[in-house]
């Protein structure tokens, strides 16, 4: 079993990465937020409302990136039998779901000033909505079994099935959107000028750094949770004789 297989080795690297990721997150937020809120110029069409983009676009990007990481972890677990790859996927899923939800809500908050309606059946926003349901399915399936490892394996299969279906869903929604929707409603109308790039980069890297930090903490938490479950079920499975003799001897 290659050396990243057991968690102590894996966590040693994760813990080493944590301070760096935290550093990147803090710096990028400190650079990105003032740029996003104050420095970069108002958009000539939308005025200040476009500043929501600096939350909307990074969270959309994170929603997709985290799902691909989940697919990678699930494939590593199912196909290459990597014993803890599924933990990365299980630890990332809630993060991905929250980023996708954040993308949807900020999209609605942006839609209202731009087009007068909170929800716009724009192709990309609709695809993000579908991605959110895939996350919900993954989270629900993972928790639906008594045997936790059965949940891990089932959720891993679902993540791979979802990954195959996501492009098909996006293609269908894209085609459906052009069929029913006049093009003025699409997000494509936004042209990103040069000085908008830097705040966007800063925010994207801030989100990514934040994801890595929370992932490391959640991995620690998942590994501890498995150890707690193991300790409890090990005691439950002790043969009758062992527990009775231990009890009669009393505490040492």
């Amino acid at each position: 079993m290659h050396k990243y297989a057991n968690p102590t080795e894996f966590m040693r690297i994760a813990n080493a990465v944590l301070p760096w990721a935290a550093g990147v997150t803090v710096i990028c937020f400190m650079v990105g937020l003032p740029l996003a809120l104050i420095a970069s110029p108002a958009d000539y069409q939308q005025g200040e409302a476009y500043r929501i983009m600096y939350i909307h676009v990074p969270s959309a990007w994170m929603g997709l990136m985290v799902y691909s990481i989940m697919a990678g972890g699930s494939a590593g677990f199912l196909i290459w039998r990597h014993p803890i790859a599924h933990l990365v996927a299980r630890a990332s899923a809630p993060l991905g779901a929250i980023f996708t939800a954040l993308c949807l809500v900020t999209g609605m908050l942006w839609g209202q000033p731009m087009w007068g309606t909170f929800w716009v059946w724009d192709a990309r926003l609709t695809s993000m909505l579908m991605l959110f349901f895939l996350y919900l399915g993954y989270l629900a399936l993972g928790e639906a079994f008594e045997d936790p490892e059965r949940g891990d394996k089932a959720a891993a299969v679902l993540a791979l099935v979802g990954t195959v279906n996501l492009p098909i869903i996006h293609f269908s929604v894209e085609w459906w959107n052009t069929l029913h929707q006049p093009s003025i409603f699409t997000m494509k109308g936004m042209t990103i000028s040069a000085d908008m790039i830097w705040p966007l980069f800063a925010m994207v890297f801030a989100f990514m750094g934040y994801y890595v930090c929370i992932l490391v903490l959640r991995l620690r938490s998942e590994i501890l949770n498995a150890k707690i479950r193991n300790a409890r079920s090990a005691r439950a499975a002790q043969p009758m004789s062992a527990t009775t003799t231990a009890a009669t001897q009393g505490a040492p």
Binding site: D147, E149, I223, R229, N230, A231, S233, A234, M240
Partner: protein, 224 residues
């Protein structure tokens, strides 16, 4: 029963480990079975007898070790291993709305050439002849269990795996089971039985599954 014997084969397991309910149940478990061999699995509840039987059937995948049939890994071709195995677990695997004869006829078609002759013989061997046309839902638990055991004989297969077959059986059925097993072994078949009380055969090798609990290697989720 047909006179044909089974071809020469050895069924063995080396260094087998398996997880169940988030816990390694046994580790470094080994066994070896030749033609005509019988293995009786002993061990307390939860020691992994059923898990081991399902692993031998290829239904569960071991986390370590190798299950070999004539030296080749059984999991290289799970379908072939499934075809040479008959497994009778706690669940009878019978369709309540189908009659006893239909259930066995389905097994005959699924596993073999589907000749009805063997179905009748199988039912007779376990005293179910007059119940052949009754839907399974009206049969008692004991009768259903005997029907599940009768299914073993419908299409010959070299490897029989029985999970506590004796529990719901009365004395006549116990004797019928012992006769059927003896005949199976006489034709070169192998059998593994998980049993608490008396095993359906007297000369079987014994394997205490709980004795393999000690060798469980540390898993990353152990509390150490």
């Amino acid at each position: 029963m047909g006179a044909e014997g089974f071809e020469q084969a050895t069924f063995s397991g080396t260094g087998l480990a398996c997880r169940r309910g988030g816990r390694t149940v046994f580790a470094d478990l080994a066994f070896n079975l030749e033609n005509g061999g019988a293995l009786v699995l002993r061990g307390a509840n939860g020691s992994g007898k059923t898990t081991l039987l399902r692993l031998m059937a290829g239904l569960s995948v071991p986390t370590a070790g190798q299950l070999a049939w004539n030296g080749t890994d059984a999991f290289d071709d799970p379908d072939a291993h499934g075809a040479r195995t008959r497994f009778v677990g706690h669940l009878d695997g019978l369709k309540p709305s189908m009659t006893a004869a239909e259930n066995l006829a389905f097994a005959a078609q699924l596993w073999g050439d589907g000749t009805a002759a063997r179905v009748g013989g199988a039912l007779e061997a376990f005293g179910l002849g007059r119940l052949a046309e009754l839907p399974v839902r009206v049969l008692s638990a004991g009768q259903r269990h005997r029907l599940a055991l009768a299914r073993l004989m419908v299409v010959p297969a070299p490897l029989w795996l029985l999970d506590e077959p004796g529990n719901a059986l009365d004395d006549d059925s116990q004797r019928a089971l012992a006769r059927v097993i003896a005949d199976h072994r006489a034709r070169g078949g192998m059998i593994v039985v998980a049993a608490h009380g008396a095993a359906p055969m007297s000369d079987g090798m014994t394997l205490d599954v709980s004795s393999f609990a000690a060798a469980i290697p540390p898993h990353w989720s152990d509390a150490a």
